[in-house]
């Protein structure tokens, strides 16, 4: 998406999807609307990096990331008994993989690559039910790369339990 970005049109076309996504993850419509606003502002700010990706795919992942940050910032475990809520909280509060992966992420940023976070991948796989291949397609990584990132994140989750 290197041509002119019509933010209003983006909101009208993709807004329902983004609001739904945020509401599913956050469980609250008002907070979902706040989070949706963040998502579209981020897309606007990063418009130079929208290099031919399907917008829906990017917005879905960005909404996931924004919501994970909000869940983490809540700072408290969900009180309900929904397994999905508990899993989302665990993923949101897990740290990104340490050591070598940090170095790789730094190199990615230096060379202008902006890979999705391991947490976002974890939500796509463990919460949304995408296969590793589907996550790899979405995030434009290799299947083995996705598998490594998820394995490292799961190790972090296990440490927390």
């Amino acid at each position: 998406m290197t041509e002119a970005l019509d933010v209003g049109e983006l909101c009208r076309r993709y807004g329902p999807m983004v609001i739904r996504r945020c509401k599913r993850l956050l469980g609250d419509e008002a907070e979902a609307l706040d989070a949706s606003q963040d998502v579209f502002v981020r897309v606007f700010e990063r418009r130079d990096r929208l290099d031919g990706q399907f917008v829906s795919s990017l917005l879905f992942r960005m909404a996931t990331n924004v919501c994970l940050n909000r869940i983490r910032d809540r700072g408290r475990r969900p009180e309900g008994h929904r397994a999905e809520e508990a899993l989302l909280f665990e993923i949101a509060t897990a740290s990104e993989a340490a050591g070598g992966s940090d170095a790789r992420l730094m190199l990615d940023r230096l060379f202008g690559r902006h890979p999705d976070s391991s947490r976002t991948m974890a939500v796509l796989h463990y919460v949304d039910g995408l296969t590793l291949e589907e996550v790899a397609l979405e995030t434009r990584m290799s299947v083995s790369g996705v598998r490594k990132r998820l394995r490292a994140l799961r190790a972090t989750l296990k440490e927390m339990q």
């Binding site: 002119a4 970005l5 019509d6 933010v7 209003g8 909101c11 009208r12 076309r13 993709y14 807004g15 329902p16 999807m17 983004v18 609001i19 739904r20 996504r21 599913r24 419509e29 609307l33 706040d34 949706s36 606003q37 579209f40 502002v41 606007f44 700010e45 418009r47 130079d48 399907f54 917008v55 829906s56 795919s57 879905f60 796509l124 949304d128 039910g129 995408l130 589907e134 979405e138």
Partner: protein
């Protein structure tokens, strides 16, 4: 089938082969059909309740976003020590009489504000103010809406100066809200007669070159009076601020 695939299918954003596969599956699966119907109903509901319109409005106007960013952005004037005056300046911008974010941003969608360093600290200038060589000017902009913008000036010698963005080929992103000063102050040189500043904005991204070329064309035919407007494409808006040069 996961939600993302269904959402992308409805938005016609699946690769052709995958879209065909999903279409075939939907055709024979009542549960998938029900899920698609539910998504359509949800779209309708969100539009009917005004939530999509609300989202659009909030994104375009920055409602709910922090307004008091001027303090952190003003910083120092860099050319001279100006910290104390900067605090006063920030107070004037953010907490001035009759202010409140919504009142402050009525009227023109985007506007230029110019400040000049003075013995008392700083002063807010009016369009047409007299200024002289050596004056330190701080240019700020303010916008009601999220948009793209470029700031240039033309002086009485026909020189075109680019002020925003500092670098790059594309117009800067302009967030709605209170006045945003440029990072550095601008010292007026000995160019005679006048210097006019132009803020050009657009709802869609545009190239700085469009504005620079227009400014150069305007500068080439300017005489004793500065061009009031730049010859820009119709989709771009402009506003300007004039300084009259005195000896």
């Amino acid at each position: 089938m996961n939600d993302l695939t269904l959402e992308r299918f409805r938005l016609a954003e699946l690769p052709a082969d995958e879209a065909a596969r999903v279409a075939a599956q939907v055709g024979s699966d009542p549960e998938l059909q029900a899920r698609l119907s539910a998504l359509s109903a949800s779209d309708h509901d969100l539009h009917e309740r005004g939530l999509v319109r609300q989202l659009e409005h909030r994104v375009m106007t920055g409602a709910g976003a922090a307004a008091a960013t001027t303090a952190s952005r003003l910083g120092s004037w860099r050319l001279t020590a100006f910290a104390a005056a900067a605090v006063v300046l920030v107070a004037a911008i953010v907490w001035g009489p009759g202010s409140g974010g919504a009142d402050r941003i009525k009227g023109e969608p985007a506007s230029l504000i110019l400040y000049r360093k003075s013995d008392a600290g700083s002063e807010s200038l009016s369009d047409g103010t007299r200024a002289r060589q050596g004056d330190l000017i701080r240019v700020a902009y303010r916008s009601v809406n999220l948009c793209f913008g470029v700031i240039v000036s033309i002086d009485g010698r026909g020189t075109v100066t680019r002020h925003l963005p500092g670098q790059g080929e594309g117009a800067a992103t302009i967030q709605p809200g209170d006045a945003v000063p440029l990072d550095t102050a601008y010292e007026l040189d000995d160019a005679p007669k006048w210097e006019r500043f132009y803020l050009v904005t657009g709802e869609r991204a545009f190239e700085v070159k469009v504005v620079m070329d227009a400014a150069r064309r305007a500068a080439a035919v300017a005489g004793n009076e500065p061009p009031e407007t730049l010859p820009l494409p119709p989709e771009l808006r402009q506003t300007s601020f004039l300084l009259r040069k005195v000896s």
